[in-house]
């Protein structure tokens, strides 16, 4: 029910945007994320972007997980 998926914003028209998910374009509302820009990935829940995904944080998380995996492999 709280499902939200990452989609890429292709274009913005006032409070709505065209967003792409897996090659399909869909119209979403930006009323909850007025800061969203073209090229951002947003989390979409029931047609509304609820958050602009933070790429820097995502990369930091993955880097941390890589560190853990490398440390575990090294034993």
């Amino acid at each position: 029910m709280c499902l939200a998926i990452p989609v890429l914003i292709k274009s913005i028209d006032d409070k709505e945007a065209e967003a792409e998910i897996g090659g399909i374009t869909r119209r979403i509302s930006l009323r909850l994320t007025p800061e969203a820009k073209v090229g951002d990935y947003v989390l979409v829940h029931t047609g509304y972007a609820i958050n602009v995904l933070d790429q820097e944080q995502a990369e930091e998380t993955l880097a941390l997980l890589r560190e853990i995996a490398e440390a575990e492999e090294a034993g």
Binding site: L3, L32, H45, G47, E72, E73
Partner: protein
């Protein structure tokens, strides 16, 4: 970065699993509050790769499952009013109330339409100006701002035949009620990711501070859950209890201020009935007086009839985390996804549905 496959990489999962196994020394029970987390845990076989020390239990985080029959009956009574069109998310159709379901009522000729978004419900209201369109507002803090936004849009666009039956529920108050009931002892809480996208991580602090339970906000990919469990284990082993965010790409500590602002503008807290938990103070949302003209409850006379609960169904106990689906005598026998007795078998995020789909507790 596409934010999906990156968080499903097996070599990173192996690292986390190995780290969890090495660090975990103390037996602990972690509750995943959210039904979406339950689904990830089952889909990726996460229970099977965790050490025996760690027990995962599902919580009440499935909005459809926790909606009490008395409230479902109200929705069904609305659907039976001539000319009313009910707009609802598809997973509500099969949910049984005391006597019926939207699917049955629809088959009998009632106006029930499935929508993907409140934006579709608004369009239906514009396309059918002579008919009241009522959106069934069932959901947690993730969904409530989208419903608030729809009411504000209806106001802006002068749509006069759009209504909301607000059965929204708030998560922190019910977790407090669950902990105060003292039926289930928790060593850690996997906090709901997309609820936290809206409300932030601060509203969970009382759980860590007052109840001494470690809290970690998790995303919905397998690496997210494993990272969350790893962080919970670390807190358990260090004897700490604090709120941390594992899902940093999707959750900020302060949440989404714009969404919170709209939600607060349109709704105010009220008591709400939860299946299995009864009435919990300030755990629901009702429309503020200013938006009363959009409130289905204030504008239609509803006669839902007496409430009846399905005999033998233990959804309430399962939602409180005190019983598991396999403990239910109906599970997998008379209660099946195609003929559900209780809501936890209907919703794709319900515990019974997840247990059934992924074969746990079905025997054989």
């Amino acid at each position: 970065m596409k934010y999906i496959t990156e968080f499903r990489r097996s070599e990173l999962a192996e690292g986390l699993i190995s780290h969890i196994k090495r660090s975990s020394k103390t037996p602990a029970r972690f509750m995943e509050f959210c039904g979406g987390h339950t689904v990830t845990i089952f889909r990726y076989g996460i229970r099977q790769v965790l050490p025996q020390n760690i027990e995962m239990v599902s919580g009440p985080g499935c909005p459809i499952c926790v909606t009490a029959n008395a409230d479902l009956d109200k929705a069904f009574a609305l659907a039976q009013i001539p000319d009313v069109i009910i707009a609802t998310f598809g997973d509500m159709l099969k949910v049984p109330g005391s006597r019926s379901s939207l699917q049955k009522i629809k088959a009998e000729g009632a106006g029930v339409m499935t929508v993907y978004s409140t934006m579709d419900a608004l369009k239906a209201a514009e396309d059918n100006p002579d008919k009241p369109v009522v959106f069934l507002g069932i959901g947690f803090e993730t969904t409530a701002p989208t419903v608030a936004a729809s009411i504000l849009q209806a106001e802006e666009r002068g749509i006069k035949n759009y209504y909301v039956l607000s059965l929204h529920k708030l998560c922190p108050p019910v977790i407090r009620a669950l902990l105060d009931a003292g039926e289930v002892e928790l060593g850690g809480l996997v906090c709901p990711g997309h609820v936290s996208t809206i409300i932030g991580s601060h509203p969970w602090e009382f759980i860590a501070n007052e109840y001494g339970i470690p809290c970690v906000v998790s995303g919905f990919e397998p690496l997210d859950i494993l990272q969350c469990v790893d962080m919970l284990v670390e807190q358990v082993e260090k004897g700490q209890s604090k709120v941390e965010i594992a899902y940093r790409r999707g959750v900020r500590p302060e949440g989404n201020r714009q969404a919170l602002k709209l939600m607060e503008q349109v709704f105010e807290p009220c008591p709400a009935r939860w299946r299995g938990m009864g009435e919990v103070a300030d755990s629901g949302l009702k429309l503020r007086e200013k938006y009363r003209r959009f409130d289905a409850e204030a504008n239609f006379e509803l006669k839902p009839g007496p409430v009846a609960e399905p005999a033998g169904c233990i959804c309430g106990d399962i939602l409180r985390g005190v019983k598991k689906p396999a403990d239910c005598p109906l599970f997998g026998k008379v209660c099946l996804p195609e003929s559900p007795v209780g809501p936890c078998m209907v919703s794709s995020e319900g515990s019974c549905s997840a247990y059934y789909l992924y074969g746990e507790g079905r025997g054989g």
